[in-house]
């Protein structure tokens, strides 16, 4: 379970998070929505300890990561997988080396066994046989899927998605959304996705938390979100519908 309490973060004079409270039970598919620059990615990166909050706590299975040293933080991070906005694949490595890196670094598994597991994960994301390819030779959608395969490599119990469909064409976005929804259903892992694309949010989330002015302004199921009469939610949905 992930418990976020009173999370504050500011960059210079600019407050970004102003007291976020969220509880995410095991196996939940949560989407954090909100307008660009509202602090969604800062919140997501705080959950995995990439950004230290100024105040507040983030408990992962009861352990507060905001007060942890590096060694303990790395131990907790072993529970996570993360898909970055631009996939963040290592340019100097092949797809196979990228996806196999977590096992190469954290286990004593021989490389042939790692390669078999890499191929298994690449098949899971619908990209078998591309192990020898370099990231630069892949399309945006393929890069995201390879990033997802890498995030799944250690069989994490929590997976984070940062804007999974940003920069993709509509058809590829649908494919990525379907893949994430399928992973959530099949693997039953806790997932937190950050997006401002509501088509994506409705497809991959079961619950939506909407950030506004550094706080959670709405928290409920997808159904409740769609039917909400809250003017701020309505305005956001209308902006989305009008393509703004």
């Amino acid at each position: 379970m992930i418990e976020i309490r009173g999370l504050h973060k500011r960059f210079g004079d600019k407050p970004v998070l102003g007291g976020v409270d969220l509880t995410i039970p095991d196996g939940e598919a949560l989407v954090i929505a909100g307008r660009s620059g509202c602090g969604k990615t800062v919140l997501l990166k705080s959950v995995i300890g990439l950004i230290r909050p100024d105040r507040g706590s983030i408990r992962i299975d009861g352990e507060d990561i905001t007060v942890m040293g590096r060694k303990d933080l790395y131990r907790v991070r072993m529970k996570f997988g993360m898909l970055f906005q631009g996939a963040a694949l290592f340019d100097s490595m092949t797809v196979e080396e990228n996806v196999g890196l977590p096992l190469r670094e954290h286990t004593r598994m021989p490389w042939p066994a790692i390669r078999r597991k890499v191929e298994e994960k690449l098949e899971l994301v619908g990209l078998p046989g591309i192990g020898a390819t370099k990231p630069a030779e892949l399309s945006g959608g393929m890069r995201k899927r390879v990033g997802l395969a890498r995030a799944l490599m250690r069989d994490p119990s929590i997976i984070l998605y940062d804007e999974p469909t940003t920069g993709l064409d509509p058809l590829t976005s649908v494919k990525i959304n379907d893949l994430i929804a399928e992973m959530n259903d099949r693997l039953r892992i806790t997932s937190i996705a950050v997006t401002h694309d509501m088509l994506s949010a409705f497809k991959i989330g079961k619950r939506i938390a909407m950030l506004h002015e550094g706080r959670v302004a709405f928290d409920g199921s997808v159904r409740e979100f769609r039917r909400s009469a809250d003017p701020m939610v309505r305005r956001f949905l209308e902006y989305q519908r009008d393509g703004i």
Partner: protein, 261 residues
């Protein structure tokens, strides 16, 4: 503003000490990971090839001409100071001492800072702005152990080897000029080198080289890790890495000279 100059100077001084603190902390983190060298053998070897083997063509050109111009300049400067015949007697010794103590270590260091330090900063800076370093963190892989330790190790280990190579090539360049243009015979040139050879000069030069190599790699890593602001930020980091490592080499050269010689 009442004290713009003092504020600017004060800001620069604070900035300098802040930078010094950042690089000292990075050095501390790198040194805390001695096992990283063995754990990342493949990465360390890759960096050794990149810093060492791939720099050989540039070091060859630099060394030949450094040796050549040293011989020519030494002969010119001796004229009027030493009697005619003595000029050629001391040419080999004078050129050799300058190459061993100063010219080969410093010029190889500057060349490597331009070629390797800047390239490390560009590579790590680009990894920083495309979130690859964050990705390493989320995979519970320490970026310092994975990226900085192999580069630092390759830097301090390969620089002395490059400088030994530079010594040979620079002496060859000096001899060619002495023989073909200054009428100094081979035995005369090399006897002069041998008679005034001190092992301490070589050891001192190699100690300098190791410090320059490790420092350059460390500065490249520190500047790359701190890069931000997209492609423009990476470009600025590249320039900064070269400027800082060149300044580091010149300052460290003076400090080490006072300690070693």
């Amino acid at each position: 503003m009442r004290f713009p100059v003092s504020r600017t100077v004060g800001g620069k001084v604070i900035g300098f000490f802040r930078e010094l603190g950042v690089f000292s902390m990075l050095l501390g983190q790198v040194i805390r990971h001695p096992a990283g060298v063995f754990r990342n053998r493949r990465l360390t070897t890759e960096q050794m090839v990149r810093i060492g083997v791939e720099s050989l063509p540039l070091i060859t050109v630099m060394s030949v001409f450094t040796g050549a111009v040293s011989a020519w300049q030494a002969s010119y400067q001796f004229q009027g100071i030493l009697p005619g015949a003595t000029t050629t007697d001391f040419l080999g010794a004078a050129v050799s001492a300058a190459l061993l103590i100063e010219l080969c270590p410093v010029l190889t260091g500057i060349v490597i800072s331009g070629r390797t330090g800047a390239s490390i900063a560009a590579e790590l800076g680009s990894m920083r702005v495309t979130e690859q370093i964050d990705a390493l963190e989320t995979l519970a892989i320490d970026p310092v152990r994975f990226l900085a330790v192999p580069r630092f190790t390759a830097g301090w280990f390969m620089m002395p080897i490059l400088v030994v190579y530079s010594y040979w090539i620079a002496h060859f360049g000096a001899f060619i000029v002495a023989f073909l243009m200054l009428d100094v015979s081979g035995p005369k040139f090399f006897n002069s080198v041998q008679e005034h050879f001190h092992l301490q000069n070589v050891i001192g030069g190699l100690v300098k080289a190791a410090v320059f190599g490790g420092g350059t790699a460390l500065i490249g890593c520190g500047v790359g890790f701190a890069a931000d602001g997209g492609a423009e930020g990476v470009g600025k980091a590249t320039i900064r890495a070269f400027v800082l490592s060149a300044a580091f080499i010149l300052i460290a050269d003076f400090v080490l000279a006072t300690i070693l010689f």
